[in-house]
């Protein structure tokens, strides 16, 4: 769904491989390799350039390109954090085929997998780990005075080894206190009747809760009369979600002021049922000692294994 000119949209979404985009101002050339995706505001392509592989976003709207570039520029100033892809270039391309000037920007290509396909492949135990990473990234972004806005699994890539999340698509990124620029209904607390669209950290945290819920209910569902109750029931009915219900409901109710608080409580919830299970049957002294000893053996075993692996690694390096 969009408000783009249909002919232009058709062209922008179907740039054939091999098309060379040359910037009018900076004269950099980019050769299209393949499409990476498209959405409401344009299309993104993988392209070759002098600097290697890059991602190019083209749009019919200079406004979209300029706002997103503004945000990416700000992000690049944040020390040591990878909030979004890094910005490489912004320019205009004169597309002779349709005789139009098309604004675009080039950014770092993030070779990764989208959030949900990663989970499907690698297993659900990664969900909470990725969410913890996501919360750290959001904390940083919020500290800088922003709200991500259009937070959804499609905009979260998992890249590299160890798998690390990267945020994409800063089209919704908004200064705190302003109206959220762009959002997707399913992840929007306004749609669920659970809050305003004024950008505050809790806005993003609501979306994080929705990502977790959607991860456990892969079929998209719609809002019913009482959104809060509906979500609560769904959380209760799912084993994974139930474990975090306290945290999820707090995020849904907008009770977290900071991403860090949500992260801390999520970590606590992960470890929660472990000590509880143990506490149930206090072990006798004898058993206790046995356990302790086996614990020592276990540790020794792990240390030895690690040493072996390290030796192998060194050996490999020398070769």
């Amino acid at each position: 769904m969009d408000v783009m000119n249909p002919i232009l949209k058709n062209r922008l979404c179907k740039l054939p491989a091999g098309t060379v985009i040359v910037g009018k101002w900076h004269k950099q050339a980019y050769k299209i390799v393949k499409p990476l995706g498209n959405g409401a505001n344009g299309a993104v392509y993988l392209a070759e350039s002098k600097k290697g592989l890059v991602a190019i976003k083209v749009s019919d709207s200079s406004t979209t390109i300029t706002s997103e570039v503004n945000v990416l520029k700000r992000f690049s100033k944040v020390q040591g954090a990878a909030l979004g892809p890094s910005l490489l270039d912004m320019d205009d391309w004169h597309d002779q085929k349709i005789n139009r000037t098309i604004p675009f920007y080039a950014m770092e290509y993030i070779k990764g997998e989208d959030f949900f396909s990663f989970l499907r492949k690698r297993g659900k135990e990664w969900l909470v780990i990725l969410v913890l990473q996501l919360l750290s990234a959001l904390e940083q972004l919020h500290e800088e005075g922003w709200v991500f806005g259009d937070l959804k699994p499609e905009n979260v890539l998992v890249a590299g080894n160890p798998p690390t999340i990267r945020l994409l698509d800063v089209g919704g990124t908004t200064l705190q206190g302003r109206a959220v620029k762009e959002f997707t209904e399913f992840y929007d607390r306004g749609y669920w009747g659970l809050g305003s669209r004024k950008a505050d950290p809790a806005y993003d945290l609501f979306a994080v809760a929705m990502i977790m819920i959607h991860a456990c209910y892969p079929t998209k569902f719609e809002r019913k009369e009482n959104g809060r109750k509906q979500l609560f029931t769904m959380i209760q009915a799912d084993a994974t979600l139930r474990k975090y219900q306290h945290v999820l409901m707090k995020a849904i109710d907008g009770k977290y002021v900071r991403a860090m608080d949500m992260k801390r409580e999520l970590v606590a919830a992960i470890h929660h049922d472990v000590p509880l299970a143990r506490a149930k049957q206090p072990p006798s002294r004898k058993q206790h000692r046995k356990k302790k000893r086996s614990g020592v053996i276990e540790t020794a075993f792990i240390v030895v294994t690690l040493l072996c692996m390290y030796a192998l690694y060194l050996y490999g390096q020398i070769l």
Partner: protein, 245 residues
């Protein structure tokens, strides 16, 4: 830059007008008075017939606004998006005009070097956040729209949610056409609270004629009345008298 008021008409319809003046002409009239006209065409299932589509696009074009044709299901997202985009577009026009004054030449943001666009965009963003906004919503309630009205209402609540998140003030007014007796009927006068609509909306009756043109004309004069009241109390501060879009 002075702070001003943005004026928009949002027309929600599902078909062709068949009564009264040409709606495209009325949209052009609105534009001449600094009012942008945006149109949302609501689809039933398949596609909109050629004539209706042409009318929807024609009205938005003449009214300096944006048009979009969608299924009823997507109405909420579309209404808020179209309104926002149209605001940005108008504000950009305003900023471009100011740029021309400052730079003395025929330069718009798109023609500036990429490095310089950022700052202009920030001004547009800032204005979009703080400007006063007046939206007159014009709803087609002729026969075929009847089943879609609950969705329309939902979309309007959603719109107020988006607009009320801005720092600037909003005023809304709602007209439906055809009215019970006349071509068009006012069901909500200027108010910051679009939610007030809930009490009046269900009472709508749907009739046979579709007087889109007359409805647009009356919408324009509703702005006009408001403006003359304002100038009486010395508060007329629109800077969008002529639209360059």
């Amino acid at each position: 830059m002075r702070k001003g008021t943005l004026r928009q008409i949002l027309l929600i319809t599902d078909g062709c007008s068949n009564h009264g003046e040409d709606p495209v002409a009325m949209a052009a009239l609105a534009k001449e008075q600094g009012i942008t006209v945006n149109v949302i065409g609501v689809l039933d299932q398949d596609v909109m017939d050629e004539n209706s589509l042409r009318e929807v696009e024609g009205i938005a074009m003449a009214g300096g606004g944006i048009s979009q044709v969608v299924y009823a299901k997507q109405l909420s997202q579309t209404v808020q998006m179209v309104t926002r985009k149209a605001m940005t577009q108008t504000l950009q026009g305003v900023v471009n005009r100011e740029l021309k004054q400052i730079l003395g030449s025929n330069i718009s943001m798109e023609e500036l070097p990429p490095e310089k666009r950022g700052e202009v965009m920030e001004i547009v963003d800032e204005l979009g956040e703080t400007v006063e906004l007046e939206v007159l919503i014009l709803i087609d309630t002729s026969g075929s729209m009847k089943t879609k009205l609950p969705t329309v209402k939902e979309a309007l609540f959603d719109l107020s949610l988006s607009l009320n998140a801005r720092m600037g003030d909003n005023l809304f007014s709602v007209f439906v056409f055809p009215g019970k007796q006349e071509d068009v009927e006012k069901i909500l006068d200027w108010t910051p609270k679009l939610e007030a609509l809930s009490s009046v909306f269900p009472k709508l009756t749907s009739g046979g004629l579709t007087p889109t043109g007359p409805a647009l004309r009356q919408a324009v004069s509703h702005f006009q009345k408001k403006r003359s009241l304002r100038s009486l109390i010395g508060r007329d501060e629109s800077y969008f008298e002529e639209s360059s879009m």
